[in-house]
Subunit: 164 residues, 2 copies
């Protein structure tokens, strides 16, 4: 890992493009029983995620997606709709991850990202931090998961900024 | 989702078995380049997770695992080593998720779970909440990720407790 600076690609959205209060929504993803089970067998093999029959007798009354699977599906929507053309250089972490409602087969999930605050880095002037509220919403407009994330983004003239 | 109570299976560890201050460590998992790319193509297709060549020019200087992939690998270790014989009924969320160091191909990760506090549910006397610090540690004993999680666990005599 080097500390040298990286240019944002032409046309990418940069730190300066993220304004507190702005809200972006994503496309959507259909949750399938097959994918719930496939993810859970590999990463979260609890019966209410892997076995539709046993899940009926669980506290959830049926098969539900692993919370980490829901996070991963949300990340896919975030990357495709928010980060593909954004000069993101990663995230130090997320806070207040909440699994609010069960996610079940045939749910359709989308993501709503609200910019909470932005702050230019003091130690690395070529980048800034964007803090956002991420809400995962199902087909009934119910928020099934939420978290607050921090993304490091390059500033528009990252190379120049890093030299000043 | 019903509110009826569920019995803990015989031999399962229950709420009462989790004591603040106790620490459990897990087995380990080997991180492979193939799995990093496979997970990222599906859930987090940023180039520093999907393309070993392009990743060299990124801020990370090489391929790194998606933070959500690291969380999923940790969850697998938690389920296999901590939850398989525990009367867990899910988690409302996690806090302070921190990706502290890059996770790279050929890293070997294990998990250390420290019980921070426990609290019997007031509204549902058949269960209690266990709050834990989860640390994902690599082969050099470096903590690469951490989070604080809450797990709902059934009490030893869940049926009886729910009737009182």
């Amino acid at each position: 890992m080097t500390d040298s600076s990286f240019d944002a690609a032409e046309g990418d959205q940069c730190f300066e493009d993220f304004v507190p209060g702005s809200v972006r929504t994503s496309g959507s993803v259909l949750v399938t029983e097959e994918e719930i089970i496939e993810f859970a067998r590999r990463y979260d093999p609890q019966v209410f995620h892997t076995d539709p029959i046993a899940a009926r007798r669980s506290i959830y009354g049926g098969l539900v997606a692993s919370g980490w699977h829901t996070a991963a599906m949300a990340m896919r929507l975030i990357v495709e709709n928010h980060l593909f053309h954004v000069a993101s250089v990663g995230s130090p972490g997320v806070d207040e991850v909440r699994w609010l409602k069960p996610v079940r087969p045939r749910d359709r999930l989308s993501v709503r990202v609200s910019v909470l605050e932005t702050r230019r880095s003091e130690s690395k002037p070529d980048r800034g931090l964007v803090r956002s509220l991420v809400e995962v919403v199902n087909q009934d407009s119910v928020v099934v998961m939420s978290f607050k994330g921090v993304t490091m983004m390059l500033c528009r003239n990252a190379q120049e900024a890093s030299r000043t």
